[in-house]
Amino acid sequence: MKKILLLLITIVMFSCASAPEQPPVEQPEPEAVQKPVSITDVRNRAYSAMEKALSIKANIAVKDEYSEAKKMFDNAEALDASDPEAAAKAALIYLDAETAFNTVYDTAFTKRENASKELQMAKDDIKAVEEDADKADAESAETPEGGAE
């Protein structure tokens, strides 16, 4: 329990520290109490992000970036397994890995979209060429060509 609490505090502190300054806005009291985040949750989120990236073959499309993210994930797993006291640190690495996997996914997704669009345009261009050729063939079939010079 102490471990989970420590992790929650660390995460909240970390996210507060990096949040941009904004004018205070009056907000209604939250109705539900925020659930504590376990290291398992953080790991699962990172793992899901990794699987999502793999689903579009990001490991091939953006190989180096993916390898970096995977290395982070593997480090976090190793840390978590070897030292139960380093859970908070491992959780932070999992979070970084999740972010990295998401970035990798976005990059691969954009690349795939661009390639798909260009490929579709290539298909359309080829189809147009085939139509032109059919018309030209039909024209030469209709009008017998006279003797060439």
Binding site: I56, K57, A58, N59, I60, A61, A108, K111, R112, N114, A115, S116, E118, L119, M121, A122, K123, D125, I126, A128, V129, E130, D132, A133, D134, A136, D137, E139, S140, T143, E145, G146, G147, A148, E149
Partner: protein, 222 residues
């Protein structure tokens, strides 16, 4: 058995190559374009998105070249067809001796024909087509067909003696013996005895006047 198989394969390759080359579509650029498209599809499938994009771009470049090639071939085909038609008109004009009958018409037509040929050789197909069409238009009214002789050499044939009546009856003269006076009228001054149309001699050349504007050229000799 192996030999038969080899020959069958060879024959099918030759036949398919023949069929393949029939369409304008199967030009080198088109084939490259399709090749790159397949590579792009394969790369996309494998997650090689950068390569896929790169191949798709190449595929489009070759498709554009193929399109331009087909357009060029169509222009060339049209120009070549028109040039052949123009050539036919010019040859017909030469056969009917248009050069002497209407030197201006023949001269300008021939000039356009020469331009059509030279622009075609220079692959300026649009201009060549334009010039050929001018030739065709200028010579559209000339009539072709058989060129009839303008002169007839009288022969001595004991079995079938030549006389103006018989000569006028030949299909290449008037195809009508009753028109013999036309021959007589046109040649009377050259007769040994101008008042006697029955006296013609072997070797005598008779002029055959054109009665309905038919084209006549050369001398008929048996």
């Amino acid at each position: 058995m192996r030999k038969i198989l080899f020959l069958t394969i060879l024959l099918s390759i030759v036949l398919s190559a023949g069929l393949y080359s029939q369409s304008l579509q199967n030009n080198e650029y088109y084939q490259k374009s399709v090749e790159y498209r397949k590579m792009a599809e394969s790369a996309l499938e494998e997650g090689e998105y950068d390569k896929s994009y790169e191949y798709a771009v190449k595929s489009r470049e070759f498709a554009a070249l193929s399109k331009a090639y087909i357009a060029e071939m169509v222009r060339a085909y049209r120009a070549r067809t028109a040039l052949a038609a123009a050539k036919e008109r010019i040859e017909l004009a030469q056969r009917i001796n248009l050069e002497n009958r209407d030197p201006d018409l023949f001269g300008s037509s021939f000039g356009y024909f020469q331009d059509a040929k030279s622009t075609f050789d220079a692959k300026n197909y649009d201009e060549s087509l334009e010039n050929s069409l001018k030739v065709i238009d200028l010579l559209k009214d000339i009539k072709g067909g058989r060129v009839l002789p303008a002169f007839y050499e009288v022969v001595l044939d004991k079995a079938y003696r030549d006389c103006l009546w018989k000569i006028a009856g030949y299909d290449f003269v008037y195809n009508d013996p009753h028109k013999w006076p036309e021959l007589y009228k046109a040649n009377k001054s050259t007769f040994k005895y101008p008042d006697n149309p029955d006296l013609i001699y072997p070797g005598q050349i008779l002029k055959i006047p054109s009665l309905k504007g038919e084209v006549r050229d050369g001398t008929y000799r048996k």
